[in-house]
Symmetry: none
Subunit: 154 residues, 4 copies
Amino acid sequence: MKSFLLATVLMAFSITGYSQNTQPYLSLAEAKRIADAAEAKAIENEWTVVIAIMDAGGHLILLRKIDGTQIGSVEVAQAKAKSAVYFKRSTKVFEDGVNDGNNRLMTLPNAVALEGGVPIFRDGHCIGAIGISGVRSDQDGIIAEAGLSVLESK
Amino acid sequence: MKSFLLATVLMAFSITGYSQNTQPYLSLAEAKRIADAAEAKAIENEWTVVIAIMDAGGHLILLRKIDGTQIGSVEVAQAKAKSAVYFKRSTKVFEDGVNDGNNRLMTLPNAVALEGGVPIFRDGHCIGAIGISGVRSDQDGIIAEAGLSVLESK
Amino acid sequence: MKSFLLATVLMAFSITGYSQNTQPYLSLAEAKRIADAAEAKAIENEWTVVIAIMDAGGHLILLRKIDGTQIGSVEVAQAKAKSAVYFKRSTKVFEDGVNDGNNRLMTLPNAVALEGGVPIFRDGHCIGAIGISGVRSDQDGIIAEAGLSVLESK
Amino acid sequence: MKSFLLATVLMAFSITGYSQNTQPYLSLAEAKRIADAAEAKAIENEWTVVIAIMDAGGHLILLRKIDGTQIGSVEVAQAKAKSAVYFKRSTKVFEDGVNDGNNRLMTLPNAVALEGGVPIFRDGHCIGAIGISGVRSDQDGIIAEAGLSVLESK
């Protein structure tokens, strides 16, 4: 009887899969797995990049700078990740927009219009983002996707 | 005779409804009514946005972020309101300008070229602005106008 | 039998009260209730203040500036809320520390050493903060507590 | 004869182990080893911290945020590492100075007066720094030293 009551109480919390007013988050363990996959892809191509992974508030969880990467990329990788989590969309969307002539997008505070920033969603929530900078923006994008591929297979 | 002169002078001061060297201002009570109308319009359309209302100095009077709105909109809504009050014109004017090829407008400090920022005038004075961000810029503009509509009917 | 299985599955999600890797968050509806209580307390005392409420990432959910409040408080209220959420402790802790001679605390980026910033916890998670500025820091603190008192009674 | 002179000149460059006008640097591989040791120490003590490792220019090479660490520490850990590399001394030196009444140190741009930032030297060159933030500053210092201990044993 006691355990039945407990189950009932617990059910009340979990009716949506998440408790009321809660949201999933990205852990450091997951960020490391993402970064390992991104770094492996970069090394495989002999590309020097910075890998930045942020949480849902746009705060760094993890950053790695491969030896020899231009120092400007330390900030650019973070700016891309921030743009992705702030606007819940890939920076490629802004790059494509500007390429299509929508220059006005460049006046959006915190928006970066270069591929390489990708948001991370879980159960409909944006839980963070990855930002890559160091090589061509389409190559940065390839590394970002390589990193995020580990999440799909879990 | 003396009092007649005084009365004449006083009348001269009050002909516009305001004394010399004064200007009307936007109150928190009005800002709440504007925000209520804007929020109702957003909810009616199931749009998630940030509503920012500023005074004549470009300082926040009120801000509301509807649950689930991208966090980038917190800064963008403020930037739009600031642009509107700093330049005493709608951000749509800058958006149209950039769309017409006047990219040089994007070098204007504090100018945002995306619809959704609208100045508020009273008796010829710019007393503040509203800034909306979260959905498409034309939709942001619809919410801004819905908010300001409460002022016209007062 | 079917419902028993469902209960078992749901229990797996809710063993800690929250699903794995999820955390609670502060809603706009709650922020409004907090702000209403804080504003009522300020008006009761004829105190002019800015009320700022932030989420777990240090991003604004709500801001209100009572008419006549010094404009510096718009930024100070946000800085206090940010300090509270960034360091998961009341700004009074830093104020007391500096008053006790720990001046080194003033070199902490984003730390504000004036009472009036209070973090909001739910089930062990810091889900946001309130920041008040406009009157004496101990008075700011009274308003902050008045605002948060609505959460305890729910 | 010409090639003999060239060989002699080249030999002269390499006599110290480094060519003239070169300096050693901190690699990502080393930064990971440092971070692993620091992280292990933090977990052993159940301390939640951010670990930041910078290069000789004060640019991030690596950052890790242990789950549950206050988000303010993301910036503080970087500020400590930056202070250490900018002034080629431990942030504890500034903390001790301020504790001794030298408040004027707090006006030094980029100086942090809280233990936890330690520069890294190799062959007389400052090649970077580690910054730790999240627990008491003396505990942050313990984690920093645990991280750097891997360099001494190599």
